[in-house]
Amino acid sequence: MQDAIGILLLPALGSLIAAVFGRALGRKATSYITVGAMAAAFLWTVSVVWRLLALPPAQRSFDPVYWQWIHAGALQVHFGLLIDPLSATFLLIVTGIGFLIHLYSIGYMEGDPNFQRFFSYLNLFALAMLLLVTADNFLFLLVGWGGVGVASYLLIGFWHTRPSAVTAARKALVLNVAGDVGIMLALFILVMTLGRVSYAGVFSHVSSLTSLQVELVAFLLYLGAAAKSAQFPLHVWLPDAMEGPTPVSALIHAATMVTAGVYLVARAYPIFHAAPVAAEWVAGIGAFTALFAATIAIVQNDIKRVIAYSTVSQLGYMFLAVGISAYAAGIFHLTMHAFFKALLFLGAGSVIHALSNEQDMRKMGGLKKYMPITYWTFLIGAAANAGVPLFSGFFSKDAILGQALASGHFWLWLVGVVAAFFSALYIFRLFFLVFHGKYRGDAHPHESPPVMTVPLVVLSIGALLGGYVAVPGAWNLFDQWLQPVFSRYPGGILPAAAAAPNWGAIALTSVIVLAAVYVAWRYFAGDVVREELPAALRPIHKVLYNKYYIDELGHAVFVWTVDRLAILADLFDRVVVDGIGMGMARLVWGWGEALSPYESGYIRRYGLAVLIGGVCVVAFLTLVQ
């Protein structure tokens, strides 16, 4: 497994070549190189997974170490990669879905003047994300963590002439860095108490920490995870991040980067196992976020914003799962979500591309007959997202809800079920508004080129059939695959009883989801958009439409505080800092003023001064002797 580093080096090289030689190589060559790098990385990953599968489950873990990075006293940090089923799953998602999205971008970004820069950034992102998921210690996890943040910043603000894109990029960066600080602090505590940062070192010594220390580390790690994965109340950057090009939304803000938080909690499960308070918190906030974001998504009119809130909501489900120790179920949902959410975003991108950058759903409608491939693939994605029975989202979401119920988290289950109703409602509202009824815009819709529709078809196959790796009551290949990772330390696997399917609960959610689809069809599939709402619903609509005023609240609290701090800092700067600086300058100035008359320019005066000085020296020497 020593060769696994090649998977990281390929996009690194691609990014570098696109950045340095992009102009010289031209668009075509650049896209071949960068997309080719992703394709090669994917094949390499497949070979790694193949070799893992050939081994007995207990041996499917490799930790090739390449360099010693830091050696300071007792602290040693190596640059090594951890290749096990968990990181291999992420490698497959990042390189596989990443490759499809790279491919799609060739069509979507066609004609953009900064085509090469875009592909350089995409490969840079892939490198950082791969480092994040394969690092075998917390330090390099943080390096990758920061790297994806930077790549995300660059890509959200890719159209840097749009003020809104720049603002959104900055917002994302600020909130993400707030999370990075959390992870950094957790790292400091680990170095101080355990003196090690490698996963193996930390996880086998968790028991030597006091429960307060463990809870603190878990909460700080969760702070980072919540910022990256857009958990309430740090979710505000993700919907704004839709200012970036749509493939970016699909790759970074749906399929890969935003799931890094789930990865972190799952990877650090021995810590969260030892910190029950933090784990409950993770699950509770997750369930709340799932419901909260789903309700906002119902009333938004921007197609990408709806999908963005949908992502926040689905991430909530994943955190609900990892919070109740159903790690395998969480990662399962994450994988399925990567498929169907990338599909939804790319489908939305295809629609936006076809309508000359129109994103308002009120100006869409009836696109079914213009864009058949996009229509059918989007339908599969929407069904998977809603959790319609027999689509992938159904299996993964029900796995989470079933385990929540079985492990005694009745309220979390209930919130999850309600959120499932809203999930189905918002995604089918979007679907019917966009593809059914009459066309309400004034562009000339057309189907997208094959370079965009092929990724849609491939992803839709994943969204359609991916769920069958884990059929409740029959088999669960996904759990088996991850089982060696989560059984290495205690607390990774729920008791066997929890894994048994609860047919009643599954039937209930299925009925609820189908009911939501019916409601969406009933109200949104018509030819005209209903603008009128019953009076009773209008205040609710207003609150939801304004996203519960979280942005305004954050603005009021933080901007007010920062303004006050700025006034203080300004005062300090003027009085103290400037005082010191200007004081020094005045001192020198004064001396200069005092001494300059003696520099008269008359040679004879200088001569006299020398003479007097000489006489003084002689007199002094004479007197001393």
């Binding site: 320019g601 040679i603 004879r604 001569g607 003479l611």
Partner: protein
Amino acid sequence: MVPLSYYLILSALLFSIGTVGVLVRRNPLQMFMSIELMWNAVNLSFITFARQYTNMAGHVFVFLVITVAAAEVAIGLAIIVVVFRTREHADVDELNAMKG
């Protein structure tokens, strides 16, 4: 034999005349001559002491001083010529561009 003090008094007189010359004259050529007088006053005292203590180091110093004085005069005269060419005078009191 002439006593040592005579030589030294002569040396001191020559040095003082040179010093006053440098300080009161405004013509750079005359100032140079005065400086030359100071050099030679110093040379005289070197020779005096060399003879008194029969130590040849004094003679060596005198040769050194003569050499340096020659070099200094060469450079100084060159400067004066250049100043005269640009200013059409060589009054040192007018040459006060370095005034602070």
